[in-house]
Subunit: 323 residues, 2 copies
Amino acid sequence: MVVNEHVQRVLDAVKEREIERVFFVACGGSSSLMYSSKYILDREAQTITSDLYSSNEFIHRNPRTLNEKSLVILCSLRGNTPETVEAAKFARSKGAITASMTNLTDSPLAQSSEYVIPYPWGGEVKAEESNYAVLYQLVFGVLAVKEGNKKLDSILRTLPHLDSVYAKAKQQFAPTAQKFAVDFKDESVIYTMASGANYGIAYMFAICFLMEMQWKNSHAIHAGEFFHGPFEILDKESPFILFLGLDETRPLEERALKFLRQYGEKLLIIDAKDYDFTGVEEDVKGYVAPLVLNQVIRQFAAELAKETKHPLETRRYMWKVAY
Amino acid sequence: MVVNEHVQRVLDAVKEREIERVFFVACGGSSSLMYSSKYILDREAQTITSDLYSSNEFIHRNPRTLNEKSLVILCSLRGNTPETVEAAKFARSKGAITASMTNLTDSPLAQSSEYVIPYPWGGEVKAEESNYAVLYQLVFGVLAVKEGNKKLDSILRTLPHLDSVYAKAKQQFAPTAQKFAVDFKDESVIYTMASGANYGIAYMFAICFLMEMQWKNSHAIHAGEFFHGPFEILDKESPFILFLGLDETRPLEERALKFLRQYGEKLLIIDAKDYDFTGVEEDVKGYVAPLVLNQVIRQFAAELAKETKHPLETRRYMWKVAY
């Protein structure tokens, strides 16, 4: 497998330019998919530092190190999130390279960005063409062209196997998802928890699936911070979803697991150790785990929606009122 | 006013060293007090980039740019938070300058750190000697010695006036705090919301005061992210606390305010525009607002504890069981 042609165009530009900073800029679900990429840059990059901001925070915070030595990676599925479109214009006005991921190449975001990386969306998307796949190609690609990092090869060898990994994981977790939906359907608050590369998925499940699509109260607790306040909320009636990954912060999640098992009872534990990772290269397993989790967790949301009889598409405000 | 002697020692070391990165490392409440400092560095620093991590995340994430060109600022009130002590040792092993803020100078954190910045705690602490005051001296001090930033002078001129600002703000908000406690005492979920320089206080109030000390469900929603998922939870029964600051991200908080007023009803709004800021220099008002909020919000917690008859000191796990 080779790098996606649109990603390659960004890498060609990056190659010609000194890059000191990467900014990950998006909102909500599009932002959540970038957390593991920030984790990757933190762990792998020798010279490039990064930050991740919700689009409007990025614009108003106006980071002083945003300049022509910055690469700003943006994402909006339909390319019409107003703050993200503005963020792209803002970043360009500062001289940064802008690379926007979107499903719609004629969208305002696409038109406002120097580089556009389209990704397919909907029914039968191949894993190797998905939003996560193009983002990882871009991030590992930047590490490769700027610092000679070798993991891009591992990612490119891994991506073609992901459809099979996803399918097996989904099948494996299907009974758990049904049981979860029955057990948790009447809860008014459901916490999610994770650390490191997985935290973005915990965040996404809390704010998109639980709060937005199921109108259930939620909060993605960081597994390390849990012990410095949030854990006092825990009793045998408090529903918690914990994700255990394969990245270097797994000990934080394991510590939280031990405590949850001791003092809690309404628990859903999804452990990446249970995935069949055939075809996933050893040195990127920790980075790939959240991609699998992102697939697995969607069936938990779908099953929950069936049991609550509250379809995932129901909204009261989003796309319906002015805001 | 001059810089605190312990802060000055760190600045003397920083002056002699090339500093590319600042890491803010702590847990829970100690971490929350650093968010506005990360905001300050983002806005002010031309060359120094920064990150903020919960202590154990910092250790296991092991950022590759952590090295002898890093300044790692840590904090633990009693200096005995195990993860933060370990983080100090870890940072020193990487050659970074470690500067630890703590109340106890003979604590494990103090003993594990190259530089110790003591701060008083308890009844009658002068604002200019508080944890926030020494941290701001350090952060603006780094900006002064490395980049010639002039705002350290503004901060030093401002700090002696803060006791008076705090006292007036507390008095002004006392009736609101009592009303809040009566109105919100039976709520099982209370959200907090802010952006930019204020977000750390929203986070602190959610995880420390509400979850830890009142066993109330909570979540500090980012005011920009609110519109990309969390706002769907809002109805006339959902309790929200919104903080409006004076920093550059205020438009995000104002947008959230408008929406909350339109679709919500159980609202507590604390607006920094209402503070009497006599003595606060114009160019640091946005940075100082969270310090005032940090004082004001404590009386809301105290009043809530009276109404719920759940003392702020009550714990089931913290300092009581192994974790």
